[in-house]
Amino acid sequence: MTKPGGELTWKDLEIGAVMTEPGNASQYQTGDWRTQRPVHEHSRCIKCGLCAIFCPEGCIEPNEEGFFEANLFYCKGCGICARECWTKAITMVEEE
């Protein structure tokens, strides 16, 4: 599978839809039904990483400057990171 699942036609599938590429589940966008998303305010962030520890999806990682950010490809907008953040650096904003 070279294309993401959502772009494959029925003709692109292998025999029996066998998956020949290991780990291709990571290409599946699981965050597309989110109703709100976390916005990280870097001026308040102390880089403690508690949001990443509590994230049930494991989709929060530090960026190049060490600030933690949610990967919106997978984030489902549960809001646990915002609830747990010591410094209230994360706000949940409604998706348009």
């Binding site: 699942g5 959502g6 494959l8 036609t9 029925w10 003709k11 692109d12 599938l13 292998e14 025999i15 029996g16 839809a17 066998v18 998956m19 020949t20 290991p22 589940a25 599946y28």
Partner: protein, 391 residues
């Protein structure tokens, strides 16, 4: 040299499985399929067939073991009946979607409750939509031949689908018939060694039967539908080639004495042979009646059926299964649906009979045909009629 021998039909299936040189058989014994798997286990035990025979604790496990065997590229066979087919049910869908060319003989049997070990098509109709190729045999020779054809069809690269060969429980499984048993060298000419294109292999890891989220599931089902429908051409080719080599030709829809017939009866399996006698005697009396034997159930032979009934006014369909609270028998229902869009089509009249092993004799088929003619003229208050039921 091909020998014609008197042999129980079940035992001839075991010989066909041996001639096909299968690698793995996994089965659970259930009446009336028992003789098939008993004979195969003996052939394996005494060294006549070099295969693994996997005894299991249920049909669910039998079909699951067949999945695994077929997935590594082994030629795989099993057999079941009635409740056993029902217990396999969920695994049947897995076999067809994963494109595993398993061959299964089904000794068609009624479903409980009440307990009936005898034949009808309730079990078959319950697995209609599992995505398997389904072929009905009307006699011992057809059963033997079609088991061999089934491997050829199933394993064809263009198909790679599991195949069920249906034979009526007891009325076929337990009768002794004269059957031409082919020589191994002849079978080898028709059935090449099995080479599965994408098997489970540690050197080439793949995932079979993985998760299909909503963004791809529909595409997988479209692929399955196209694949099963297209299998018909390969089935026709295999039957043609079988006929060219061995002289016995098969087709999806067989017409018997339908020339000029305004009234045609359609039946499946062994009952179609009995119905032939009724048609013969009515033809002798000058009545313009004919018979259609529906041999290929999936993929459904739309074109062949439409062609076969195009000149008839009335088509009587005998079902050996009942869709409770519905339009009657599942076969009649599908045939009505297949013909509905045609400008000129026969009136389809459904009968349900032969349930739980009850025999319909040639005189019974005459009654069905005569009653069908009455209904076609005067109508009926019911959606369908149950033949032979005591009121």
């Amino acid at each position: 040299m091909t020998q014609r021998v008197g042999i129980e039909v079940s035992r001839s299936i075991a010989i066909a499985v041996k001639l096909a040189n299968v690698d793995v058989v996994s089965a659970y014994p259930i009446t009336p399929q028992t003789h098939i798997v008993e004979d195969i286990s003996e052939l394996v035990a005494n060294g006549e067939l070099d295969a693994s025979y996997i005894p299991v604790e249920s049909e669910h496990s039998a079909m699951s073991a067949c999945l695994g065997a077929s997935a590594v590229g082994a030629r795989t066979f099993t057999a079941t009946a009635g409740q056993g087919l029902e217990l396999m049910h969920e695994v049947l869908y897995v076999a067809s979607f994963m494109r595993l060319p398993i061959v299964m003989a089904v000794a068609d049997r009624a479903l409980s409750a009440p307990i009936s070990i005898w034949g009808d098509h309730s079990d078959v109709m319950a697995v209609r939509d599992t995505g398997w190729i389904q072929i009905f045999a009307a006699n011992g020779q057809e059963t033997f031949d079609n088991v061999l054809c089934a491997f050829r069809i199933a394993e064809d690269r263009r198909v790679l689908l599991p195949v069920m060969i249906h034979l009526d429980g007891f009325q076929l499984t337990h009768v002794i018939e004269p059957i031409y048993i082919l020589e191994s060298s002849e079978v080898d000419k028709f059935l090449p060694p099995h080479e599965y294109p994408l098997p489970l292999d540690p050197d080439r890891p793949i995932t079979m039967g993985g998760l299909a989220p909503p963004n791809i599931y529909t595409e997988t089902k479209k692929a399955q539908q196209v694949n099963l429908t297209a299998a018909k051409e390969v089935i026709l080719q295999a039957w043609k080639e079988f006929g060219d080599i061995f002289g016995r030709y098969y087709s999806p829809v067989e017409s018997y004495r339908c020339e000029g017939a305004k009234v045609i009866l359609l039946a499946m399996g062994s009952f179609s042979e009995t119905a032939m006698s009724a048609v013969d005697s009515m033809r002798e009396e000058g009545k313009e009646v004919g018979l259609i034997k529906l041999c290929l159930w999936r993929p459904f032979p739309f074109a062949e059926l439409r062609q076969a009934v195009k000149d008839a006014d009335t088509l009587l369909v005998l079902d050996r299964a009942l869709s409770f609270g519905g339009p009657g028998g599942p076969v009649a229902s599908e045939i009505r649906s297949a013909l509905y869009g045609l400008d000129k089509r026969p009136k389809v009249i459904g009968f349900v009979g032969g349930l739980g092993g009850r025999v319909i004799s040639p005189s019974g088929f005459r009654e069905i045909i005569n009653r069908g003619i009455e209904i076609s003229q005067a109508g009926s208050e019911q959606e369908f009629e149950m033949f032979g039921v005591r009121e």
